[in-house]
Amino acid sequence: MLLQASQITKRFGHRMVLNALDLSLQPGEVVTIFGPNGAGKTTLIQILSTLLKPTSGTLQIGGINALEEALRVRPSLGLIVHEPLAYLELSPYENLKLFGRLYGLNGLEQRIADLLDEVQLTPYAHEPVRIFSRGMIQRFMIAKALIHDPALLLFDEPFSGLDLAAKQLVLKRIDHERARGKGIILTTHNTELGYHVGSRFHFLLNGQIETVAEKEDIGLETLSREYEERLKG
């Protein structure tokens, strides 16, 4: 079991954001979580990435208690959210080098060159990220998240606001990583793309999660219809 979360509850003061939520993930699986805005998707991803502590519940990642030993778990996580999680004043090369060093990677130069090549940023490797277009920044974010080849990838709304090139890149990369036995969790409200990449589906509504089906057991249309119905309440 790559990830095992049970009874995760998160409260902000009197506001209950996540309510006794269970989730598990095997290597080679892609779990898609569908949910509208404000359902707690971002909070969930932040808790799974150990950036935020849950009010109660347990979280195991790669067999390690991720709440007690967050620092040990983190290097095995890759996180792609709506923020770059990097320094826009620095160049892609400098960013990747800094984070690669902090991860303690070997053969860093080669790895950076390969990654920059893959996200087609090699010509701009030494320009500050600040001046990039939105699409380029998104490609840089992908490179930054993958620099240490994490075993578990967490995506928060990876398809919203992506340009075509970046979208292709994300889709390709998800398939590729899955084939290499990595685990992926992604949240989205885009049923079509979510269905396309996912192998198991959940709904997250009002802080509560609900398992829908494995990919073999459900078609895109049934899934979309059910999702629409849930949204209406």
């Binding site: 902000f12 003061g13 009197h14 506001r15 209950m16 935020l52 009002n206």
Partner: protein, 220 residues
């Protein structure tokens, strides 16, 4: 009768006794004459101020270790009451100083460290109101701890900078016994008053939480 009400009653009675003892029982001090009577409540309030911020300090530490909302609430409430006692200290202080030294303020170590502490914890309250819900407890606990560590340093630096105009601690022990009794009773009375306010204010905070929870449930 609840425990809070009992302590409220006790502190009210003790306050009356304290006022009686201060005005009728304690003998008149020979250099300051009647004005010296300010001392009983002024110094007791200052003690309570340090006590209140000390409670904030301790419960902040406890909150960081145990993460119970209870400790955070106590820290918040105690800070607020400490600030009220600070207002007493910093208004009666100048009145005393004006008579005794013909100046409204002097940089005496205890007064200065109380003032610095007071200002720090006003910052604490401002910070709390500015922080988002999910961060404010931990962050204000951190500030509650750091703020108090400053006290001994400020105290000793000011002591050297401007040696005591206040009667220092040793002379307090040599006060005539009637004055000592008056001082002890007013100190006890104000400590009890602090305790009562703490419990009362804590209850208010609980009601507020309950209210917000219900309101939130209703919205959903």
């Amino acid at each position: 009768m609840t425990r809070t009400q009992l302590i409220g009653l006790l502190s009210a009675i003790l306050l009356f006794v304290a006022i009686y003892v201060v005005f009728s029982f304690a003998e008149i001090e020979m250099t300051m004459l009647e004005v010296q009577k300010i001392f009983y409540f002024h110094i007791s309030s200052a003690f309570t101020l340090f006590l209140a911020f000390g409670v904030t300090f301790i419960s902040s530490i406890l909150y960081l270790i145990k993460r119970r909302d209870k400790h955070d609430t106590i820290a918040l409430v105690s800070t607020e009451i400490g600030i009220v006692f600070g207002v007493v200290v910093f208004t009666t202080g100048p009145i005393w100083a004006r008579y005794a030294w013909n100046t409204w303020w002097n940089w005496e170590p205890r007064l200065t460290s109380a003032l610095i502490l007071w200002l720090t914890y006003i910052g604490y309250l401002i910070l709390r109101s500015a922080l988002a819900e999910e961060k404010k407890r931990v962050y204000s606990a951190v500030l509650g701890i750091i703020g108090f560590l400053n006290v001994p340093i400020v105290y000793f630096s000011v002591e050297l900078w401007q040696g005591g105009l206040h009667p220092d601690t040793s002379t307090k022990m040599n006060l005539p016994s009637t004055m000592q009794i008056a001082w002890l009773i007013s100190w006890l009375a104000l400590t009890l008053l602090y305790l009562f306010l703490l419990m009362f204010r804590y209850r208010t905070e609980q009601i507020k939480l309950e209210l917000e929870t219900i309101q939130h449930q209703q919205m959903n």
